[in-house]
């Protein structure tokens, strides 16, 4: 049977290895934790907002309305998109982020929310 020729078995093994490696890398990457976090909100590739999430006491929401609508909810330590007019809703489904490196991305509206660790501030306080 041609499907299981020597060459194809090698190919399937390579595919298996790539699969296992990418799953492991994905699990490691989504598990990275950051502390004293700051959220950076990018619109069309430009930084429009910097929110220190650890400093937020009362939650508030605000909408970004130009070139597509994304409603952002900022909570203490967390940020998320609660509604959007994009067809895919990937940004809403990503949920709230507060630590880690997985960003919230809304490609149709060119919105990106990234989390950066505030280790410098921590050092300043500790020092």
């Amino acid at each position: 049977m041609k499907l299981l020729s020597k060459q194809n078995i090698v190919f399937f093994c390579i595919i298996g290895v790539i699969f296992v490696v990418s799953v492991i890398v994905w699990l490691v990457v989504s598990d990275i934790q950051t502390e004293n976090t700051t959220a950076l909100v990018y619109k069309n590739g430009v930084l429009i907002e910097t929110i220190s999430l650890s400093a937020v006491e009362t939650e508030y929401e605000y909408a970004i309305n130009d070139d597509g609508v994304n409603v952002i909810l900022v909570k203490s330590g967390e940020i998320g998109v609660i509604s959007a007019d994009c067809p895919t809703q990937i940004c809403v489904n990503t949920g709230f982020i507060g630590s880690g490196v997985i960003p919230i991305i809304c490609i149709p509206n060119r919105l990106e929310i990234r989390i950066v660790g505030g280790s410098h501030e921590l050092d300043a306080v500790a020092g």
Binding site: K2, N8, F11, I18, S22, V29, I90, I102, P103
Partner: protein, 179 residues
């Protein structure tokens, strides 16, 4: 030069089937939440044509791909999605063509997986150009997802070939190699 009517009508039929698969696929929700990840079932038609023998050439496959992508964009009315599906599809097509040529014995699922990974890599590159390089953290998820969807579509085509050899030689002409 005579126009091959059978070939012309089959090419049109392939494009329409690919389009229908694309529309049906858009209705299927995915359990995984990553930008650009999809089943890629429309690739079944491209794969199917890639391994048809006889009269099927690279330009026929490219024509079906172009018609499918353009009509899909007209139906959804989303110009940005066109950019994604065109780039992803082109990456996949080029990789699958070179895989088929470079490895004569490569099985359909193997070529399919290579195409699916190339498709997702192409899409995330467009996403990175539109937003920022930060989207590349999704690359491992897209590679793993591409392998699963590539195996799915690849084995779908493989079993169509296995189950209907007469049908395949009727629409494919001569020199069909089922692998």
């Amino acid at each position: 030069m005579r126009t091959n009517v059978r070939k012309l009508s089959l090419t049109a039929l392939f494009a329409v089937i690919a389009l229908i698969i694309f529309i049906v696929e858009a209705q299927i929700p995915l359990p995984v939440n990553a930008p650009g990840l999809k089943l890629g079932l429309a690739n079944i038609i491209i794969l199917f044509m890639l391994f048809l023998g006889g009269m099927w050439k690279t330009q026929d496959i490219f024509m079906v791909f172009l018609v499918r992508v353009l009509l899909a964009a007209l139906i959804t009315g989303n110009a940005q999605a066109l950019l994604f599906s065109f780039t992803g599809g082109l990456f996949a097509l080029l990789v699958m063509l070179s895989m088929r040529t470079a490895f004569k014995g490569a099985a359909i699922p193997v070529v399919s997986v290579a195409g699916a990974i190339a498709h997702n890599a192409g899409q995330i590159t467009v996403a990175a150009l539109i937003t920022s390089a930060g989207v590349f953290v999704y690359l491992p998820a897209l590679v793993a997802g591409g392998i699963i969807s590539g195996l799915l579509t690849g084995f779908a085509v493989y079993f169509i070939y296995k189950a209907h050899p007469k049908f395949i030689s009727y629409i494919g002409g001569m020199n069909n190699d089922i692998r």
